[in-house]
Symmetry: C2
Subunit: 156 residues, 2 copies
DNA sequence: CAGCCTGAGTTGGGAAGGCCAACTTAGGCA
DNA sequence: TGCCTAAGTTGGCCTTCCCAACTCAGGCTG
């Protein structure tokens, strides 16, 4: 993800997010982190990812500010590092929720939703939606996607 | 993305979404599609992606139901195909908005936001948020991520 | 203090996917 | 007939990914 072509897109927020999250396994590592997984061996076992790739992914996620290395110490063990979500990492809840909602709706597995988002205090399900500044909910169709400063203009 | 390890995660909505969207360039192609780009040469020029890779990506996006091939005919040209978002593709607006919001907040470019989401009728900015069933807005911290049927349980 | 155990990686070799430049293809039109 | 154009295909190189086996560091056990 450090190719020249990608650098051309450096001004796009999507592309910049993908620099950290776009490589294989990155978002799945984050998903596991949200479930409370913190350790190398656990990520590895749960995902089945190759150890060298996991090392690389954890490294980019740490460098990208999504995860943070933190020393821990189990009884009768030496000190090791675990990986926990930073504030920026925790903010990816929205991104994952968007993927989950889309996948459940448009790529059903037949097993029902695998991840559920609920209100912590009531355990009632929650959904993602667009809101206006004053808190009105907006249907996605009523939302327009407009180019900002980073947009080069549509091809003639 | 058709590895055995990924199949193990077939029951997770995130992993299933990533089967279609997780390969390099896929989400950037979708981003361009939201801006109204439909043609091979335009995707290519705007993204700087290699033609063989673009062919492959368009193919998976069509197979995944995100894009739809549609014949068109320019004056003095033969009939060709263009690629337009399906309903499922349009539903990715939420996913892209989540990436944009996260990137703007946690990976600032210094150029300001590159994509802006606004209410179509008023041109006023909108944001993504978690809502309870009865329409109350919830801070992300108040939302818990719980395992659904597809979750194998945390490692002991 | 020798040897063992465990978690967190590293290393080496083969396969897949991505990059780039050059070429092909198919129909409309002069 | 031959040219033009958009949409690819092909071939060679390089990077990333996959997998299995190995290393490494420290705490504990005898």
């Amino acid at each position: 993800m450090t190719t020249t072509s990608r650098e051309i897109n450096a001004r796009c927020s999507v592309a910049r997010s993908l620099e950290v999250l776009g490589e294989k396994w990155a978002l799945l590592v984050v998903r596991e982190a949200f479930f409370g997984v913190t350790r190398f061996a656990d990520f590895r076992a749960r995902l089945g990812v190759a150890p060298d790739v996991l090392t690389a992914r954890l490294e980019t996620l740490v460098e990208g500010g999504v995860l943070e290395r933190r020393p821990y110490r189990d009884q009768g063990q030496r000190q090791r590092d675990e990986y926990v979500l930073t504030e920026a990492g925790a903010a990816l809840k929205t991104v994952l929720a968007a993927f989950v909602a889309w996948g459940d709706e448009h790529r059903p597995s037949g097993f029902g939703p695998s991840v559920v988002y609920v209100e912590e205090t009531t355990d009632k399900p929650v959904r993602l939606a667009f809101l206006t500044e004053d808190g009105r909910e907006l249907a996605p169709e009523a939302v327009a996607v407009l180019p900002g400063p980073g947009w080069a203009g549509p091809p003639a």
